[in-house]
Symmetry: C2
Subunit: 376 residues, 2 copies
């Protein structure tokens, strides 16, 4: 291999490729990048055997070839190089780097020992604008379960229908639900679904997190190819391939309340401030109490800590239906508010034991369901 | 106690006071602030028994008094309040807070149980512009020893003479030395020393670090009062009082080279870049090799790692005297360069076993001495 590429083109892609790598002491080659030539470009690959990353970098290829080298070292070295052309040359399993007055050689391994990143059989294809896709994942990702104990909910559930996409995440204490209407207005231009039936996939949380990071501020198209066990995201000369979670996603629809006994209309900012203040005095359970006062058109928010003291705040709120006093985990409540970009909110309650619904007053594309802490 | 003060005035001072507190489980009152009234203002005090902090906050005092309350809780609560007036009222060892629609009560302790922050006897007084003082501390602080094993060098040594101030720090591997000429130009206006003899103090590293943070971007006067064991910094309604390190500072002057066998003139930026690149390939000792080549007017910088590979860089340098090959810890070398604000550097060597001197080519007020790694 012998090629020349520009430092700036390389840097961002090396950073992205490096993030995929989880330090592996039993299979040290996984701590390496695979460098190879393809379509007249330099190809960088990395994998942790669950996610595979490849990126093509515009280069002047003088001689085809490949090598694998320690990822952390190459990345750190390239980051410190001046913004100039870099020559990569491979001889006897060594990578020789040349840039300006600077020479380095990095000991590599045979490219053939690098695990093969599987191909996805060209099954279902969906093309979506990267901003819409990123925004939808962002709205739900922090409700996903972080622990590996239940891999089926340490994930984002994506339901693809010809007319709508749904993104769902839950950790069994709360659930976030975002809908994209494929056929409405602008979206018609920005989303193409080329299959008729519906398709549901369970995307691992880690893959979703890496995607959000790698997509960055791009405003591009992401091509998504799905086969039985795997998913491929293809954008901007970059491919991210990941296994899908096997097994069924829980029947979340059963917990979505069909009606409500109490409805509160209030300002998101007021509620957010008040919850943070109450949170200062919450106990180890992170519990705060909300009490509707329909007569005074106020929502009262309390917390009480026997050791430190207590707090009492009031915010204006139009309240319809039965008054209720209900206890929540304040961190979970704030997580739900974070994904609402509108100041007017609706809270819906069905007594103090059943899940509440938090949603923007106007936009019908997002809701958040939160289990109360039971007052026993 | 009963008073009203504005949130914005309070916030920064609470943050500063909180930083002084080191969580203490044996003497829990040290996790509290002491709130009291003084000179018609609210006074906040905190201490870890080594450093004491007090700050006066403009307030409308309705009734004098005092209380101590959990520092973390008060600070977090006030941070989340709206930018409005806050009423503080003390009744039965409870602090009642009132702001807008928000009420809280915090369980406090008797103010008399709070440790007394000692007074400094009005001994020697020095007044210095906060920017000059901060800049001088910053130049040397990262050469101080971090470990508590030798408290006399986990410190900044400050030598105060009527005509100059010297700031010195060392961890026995390197030494940073900054001089302020009191009588030169601008400084005449900005530094006032009102005693004739010289005075040397050993300021604990932690105190220096907190001072740097609290002084922030202020451009104000700092009044410094020193007695036998303690030092007081007084600025902007704030007082920081600290014990001084007992015992003698090591005789650092003996290691300052009086002459040099080799002098190199080079660009700081070139050297910095080249050291970072060499650092990528250094071994666990963090060693990189510098080799002067007076014939080619070049400084060569190498590193070699038997496992990963090697690096070779060259930078232009005028070299006077004997050529030398010398090994350094690259992190320590970069630390020295960080404090030089000039692009032209002079490096002075006396063979490969003796300390080197790094200094700016023009400004004579700073130098950095670095021990080589011995090539045995």
């Amino acid at each position: 291999m012998n090629l020349i590429c520009f430092k700036e083109n390389l840097k961002r892609n090396l950073d992205n490729a490096l993030r995929i790598i989880k330090y592996n002491s039993t299979l040290p080659i996984l701590n390496n990048f695979l460098l190879s030539t393809e379509k007249g470009m330099l190809k960088i690959s990395s994998t942790d055997l669950e996610i595979g990353f490849t990126s093509l970098i515009p280069s002047k290829v003088l001689k085809e070839g490949s090598i694998t080298v320690p990822a952390q070292l190459l990345s750190q070295f390239v980051n410190n190089l001046p913004n100039k052309n870099i020559n990569f040359e491979v001889k006897d399993f060594k990578l020789y780097l040349n840039c300006d007055n600077i020479k380095a050689s990095i000991n590599g391994l045979n490219a053939e020992d690098f695990p093969i990143i599987p191909k996805v059989k060209n099954d279902s294809i969906l093309t979506i604008n990267s901003k819409i896709f990123k925004n939808s994942l962002s709205c739900v990702i922090n409700s996903s379960a972080i622990s590996d104990a239940r891999p089926e909910i340490s994930s984002i559930y994506i339901k693809i229908n010809p007319d709508q996409l749904k993104f769902i995440a839950t950790d069994s204490f709360r659930l976030a639900h975002k809908t994209i209407f494929v056929l409405s207005g602008d979206n018609k231009e920005k989303i193409k679904i080329n299959f008729e039936q519906s398709k549901n996939i369970v995307l691992p949380l880690r893959t979703a997190g890496e995607l959000l990071r790698i997509l960055g501020d791009q405003n591009d198209n992401v091509k998504i190819i799905i086969d039985q066990n795997q998913i491929l995201f293809d954008f901007d000369n970059t491919q991210l391939i990941s296994r899908l979670v096997e097994g069924n996603y829980p029947d979340y629809e059963a917990i979505i309340p069909k009606s409500s006994e109490t409805k509160c209309y209030l300002s998101k900012n007021d509620l957010e401030e008040s919850i943070k203040l109450a949170g200062c005095f919450s106990s180890k359970l992170n519990d705060i109490t909300m009490k509707t006062n329909s007569e005074k058109s106020q929502m009262e928010i309390f917390s009480n800590n026997s050791e430190y003291g207590n707090h009492h705040g009031k915010i204006d709120s139009e309240i319809k239906g039965k008054d209720v006093t209900i206890v929540f985990n304040w961190h979970y409540f704030l997580d739900g508010l974070k994904n609402i970009n509108e100041d007017e909110l609706i809270l819906e309650f069905n007594g103090d034991q059943k899940p509440a619904v938090i949603k923007p007053a106007k936009n019908a594309d997002f809701f958040y369901i939160l289990m109360p802490i039971r007052n026993s």
